[in-house]
């Protein structure tokens, strides 16, 4: 009340009628999208840390923990793991091709990645169905609870990755990317590599140990 506000003065306060939009870049020299995707991956890391941490705690607290090899088809999943790692390689190829602006190649490598990814999911679904027929479900015991939580959430991440790749693929086919602008492919790639990496980790602690 006591200190009057500066009053409205059209001369200085009226907005300029037509003005450009001033959009600055304050570095670091990395695209906004890529910067953001790294932040996003950080959250993903924390998410899986939560799951894996819980698994480790529960397992170390448990009186006796069943030997995974007696309950899970480790060999099949090992093969499946190898497949998924291959898909990381095809993804790298896709990104390289995209950087060179070779659209056809990019499309082909992406397609390969998508197929391999789907194969991985397929095998996992098959595994689930088998387990289901053996009555191995989350409510049976803590082993299965953790198993389904961890593999399940990773599985959904792979599905998301596949869908993402399909979306990128159709953009490639519609010629949206050039040698200069191909960030879209790169982002999908980063996410895909992350998902693969997580799997290697999960496979080791859930199936091997």
């Amino acid at each position: 009340m006591s200190h009057a506000l500066a009053a409205y003065d059209p001369a200085v306060d009226a907005p300029a009628p037509h003005h450009p939009i001033y959009d600055y870049d304050s570095g670091p020299p990395v695209e906004r999208q890529k910067f953001a995707i790294w932040l996003f991956l950080a959250t993903e890391i924390m998410f899986f840390s939560g799951l894996i941490g819980a698994y480790i705690v529960l397992r170390s607290a448990a009186a006796n923990w069943p030997d995974p090899s007696e309950r899970l088809a480790v060999d099949i999943t090992a093969a499946n793991t190898f497949i998924l790692i291959m898909s990381s390689w095809t993804m790298v190829k896709a990104v390289f091709a995209a950087k060179k602006g070779e659209q056809g190649k990019t499309a082909r490598w992406l397609l390969a990645t998508i197929l391999i990814g789907s194969a991985f999911v397929g095998v996992q679904v098959y595994e689930y169905i088998e387990l289901y027929h053996h009555g191995a479900l989350p409510h049976v015991d803590i082993f299965w609870s953790t198993f389904y939580a961890m593999t399940g959430f990773h599985g959904t991440h792979v599905v998301v990755g596949v869908i993402w790749n399909i979306w990128v693929l159709q953009r490639v086919l519609r010629g949206k990317y050039t040698a200069k602008n191909n960030i879209g492919v790169e982002l999908a790639g980063l996410y895909w590599h992350f998902v693969d990496l997580v799997w290697v980790l999960l496979f080791t602690i859930v199936y091997l140990f």
Binding site: Y24, T43, M46, L58, H139, Y148
Partner: protein
């Protein structure tokens, strides 16, 4: 003095592209109503959407609080007005499980749907681009998604009210097994599932926001706006965003585990050999072999950092508002920045202080105690610097300033009581008593909420081009300040007398029988507090229409948001920006005016 070494040319030396990296607009195409006000991608509109939704949620949470207060003052009597809405079955009388639902919903609403959205959602969205000189957020569409992902969260939490068997009734902390075994609590039927889903949606929403904020702050600062020239509001918001990025996913994971336990009968949090309602979960087909404390660790690993998410942005706003209305540079800018970061860093290693009595290894408790007590240090630095800012100032007692000052005064109270609880032996007695309730209401309501009021009064002119009424503002402040202390101060005493929180009717205990009059006093202060907010509501809506028209910079402030028109148009700034110094050049001796905006070369 930061303004001394302003660069001769603002851009190059700072490794920031020179002004001129400009994307000109394709001439103004008018957007339809939907795109402009509902599904807008403009950070300002989204900010306001968060503001209005958040205030409505605040009203809801406040009404829950009133219902709580009625029960504590006059247990098992018909509750006026609210009773018929909340408990039609019993003719307006609270039921025991109804009471647990009340404080569960109250806590959940207030933390996840009021304070966090108002701080980060509203002001994060509105202020970040304006204060760093950006035309909008880095990802406007993601920003819009962030707001709209909040709605399924709201929908779920409201659904949980109506869920058959009642709403979630395990407290906002939702400790299992109470929260995971349906048989344990009538309320933990679908109510609890909706609650968990709601938190997941809110989490996704906050996560989208946080990614956006950090990217925008790092990548889109105007030429010359170095990190150490950013207003403290931006620092608070950025650090809070980082806290969310790293803490929130853990809560999401934990919520999913609890959902697994509830929906698929998994056993994450169900120990072996329990008997609930004369039935063993295992024989009912639940997995077991889990551990209840696991949830507590995961929950507090998020929720302690979360309490600093509830306060760091508020501290930032208060710092800015103090400087502007005290016409004096913030005292110790860098120590302020370091202490914000320090609080955030320590905040990650103190979650165990909520679990001293939980059966966690007592030796670990000592470690958490030491870390927790040390958090008082950065907080001390902040308090002392605020005092330093006010020393020798030229204080303008605007409503914004009054609320900001009261934040400092109240945060000291809330913080100091934290020391008692941090000390494990004392916490043996006061854990889960009303001292805890007093503590966190002082930091969260008397603290953060007052800061939000201050921020509303301070930035309202920028948001709507009109100022709020100072008269009503002062009245709102006086009444709120008196009543809130009436509500929360006496809770310390109740706590010392040993009164437990979360007790629907404590007066059966010999220990508590004599406490009812105090509770009645508190309750009437609370009702007055609610009633008094009329002055705010009237002022808030009235000023949009009748408020005094103001220009770009009504407060004569230095930071960038005041360079834009009020309210700012599409793209925010209608002129090229270059930043020469920090945001707090008030009362510069040799300058023509008593403030030097960041866009002007300081004298000397």
């Amino acid at each position: 003095m930061s303004h001394a070494h302003a660069p001769t040319h603002p851009a190059r030396p700072l490794g920031i592209d020179p002004p001129g990296t400009v994307h000109t607009t394709h001439e103004h195409h008018e957007l339809g109503f939907l795109r402009k006000y509902i599904f807008s991608v403009d950070h300002k509109v989204i900010g306001l959407q968060f503001l209005f939704t958040g205030l409505v949620m605040l009203l809801l949470g406040g009404l829950m609080a009133m219902a709580i207060r009625w029960q504590l003052a006059y247990p098992w009597t018909e509750m006026p007005v609210l009773g018929r809405l909340l408990f039609p079955a019993t003719g307006g009388v609270t039921t025991p499980e109804g009471y647990t639902m009340l404080f569960t919903m109250h806590g959940t609403l207030m933390i996840f749907f009021v304070i966090i959205p108002l701080l980060t959602g509203t002001f994060g969205n509105y202020l970040i681009p304006l204060m760093i000189g950006a035309p909008d957020m880095a990802f406007p569409r993601l920003n819009m998604l962030g707001y709209w992902f909040w709605w399924p969260g709201i929908a779920c939490i409201l659904l949980s009210f109506g869920a058959e068997g009642g709403g979630p009734a395990a407290g906002w902390t939702s400790y299992p097994p109470l929260s995971t075994i349906e048989a344990a609590a009538p309320g933990s039927n679908w109510g609890q599932n909706w609650w968990l889903l709601s938190l997941t949606f809110v989490g996704v929403s906050s996560m989208m926001g946080a990614v956006n904020y950090v990217t925008t702050i790092v990548k889109m600062r105007a030429p010359g706006m170095t990190f150490f020239r950013m207003p403290l509001s931006i620092w608070g918001l950025m650090i809070a965003a980082l806290l969310q990025l790293f803490a929130l996913p853990v809560l999401t994971a934990a919520s999913f585990m609890q959902l697994f336990d509830r929906v698929f009968d998994a056993g994450f949090f169900t120990p072996t050999g329990t008997v609930i309602n004369n039935a063993n979960p295992e024989t009912l087909g639940n997995a077991a072999g889990g551990h209840p404390l696991l949830w507590q660790h995961l929950f507090w690993f998020y929720s302690h950092p979360a309490v600093y998410i509830l306060v760091l942005p508020a501290m930032g706003f208060v710092s800015d508002i103090l400087a502007v209305h005290a016409r004096k540079p913030i005292f110790g800018y860098k120590p302020m920045v370091y202490s914000i970061s320090g609080i955030a860093g320590l905040g990650f290693i103190v979650w165990g202080h909520h679990m001293f009595m939980s059966g966690m290894n007592p030796a670990v408790g000592l470690v958490f105690m030491t870390a927790t007590i040390m958090i008082a240090l950065p907080s001390a630095v902040k308090v002392f610097n605020w005092l330093g800012t006010l020393w020798g100032a030229r204080i303008h007692l605007t409503s914004a300033m009054l609320f900001a000052i009261s934040f400092v005064s109240m945060f000291i109270i809330g913080g100091l009581s934290g020391i008692w609880m941090a000390s494990t032996p004392v916490d043996i007695y006061i854990h889960d008593t009303y001292i805890v309730v007093a503590h966190f209401h002082y930091v969260v309501f008397a603290g953060s909420m007052m800061a939000i009021f201050a921020a509303i009064y301070h930035w309202f002119p920028k948001m709507f081009g009109r100022a709020m009424s100072e008269k009503l503002g002062v009245i709102h402040f006086v009444g709120t300040f008196i009543t809130l202390n009436g509500v929360f101060y006496m809770m310390h005493q109740l706590g010392l007398a040993g009164l437990m929180r979360r007790t629907a009717d404590p007066y059966d205990y010999a220990t508590y029988a004599h406490l009812q009059p105090i509770n009645q006093f508190i309750s009437w202060c609370a009702f007055a507090l609610l009633a008094w907010q009329v002055f705010f509501v009237v002022n808030f809506f009235g000023s949009m229409i009748w408020g005094r028209r103001v220009g770009r910079n009504p407060w004569n402030a230095c930071s960038l948001e005041w360079e834009a028109p009020s309210p700012p148009g599409h793209g925010n700034f209608d002129k090229q920006l270059a930043v020469y110094h920090g945001p707090y050049e008030y009362g510069v001796p040799d300058a023509p005016k008593d403030f030097v905006p960041q866009t002007q070369r300081a004298h000397a």
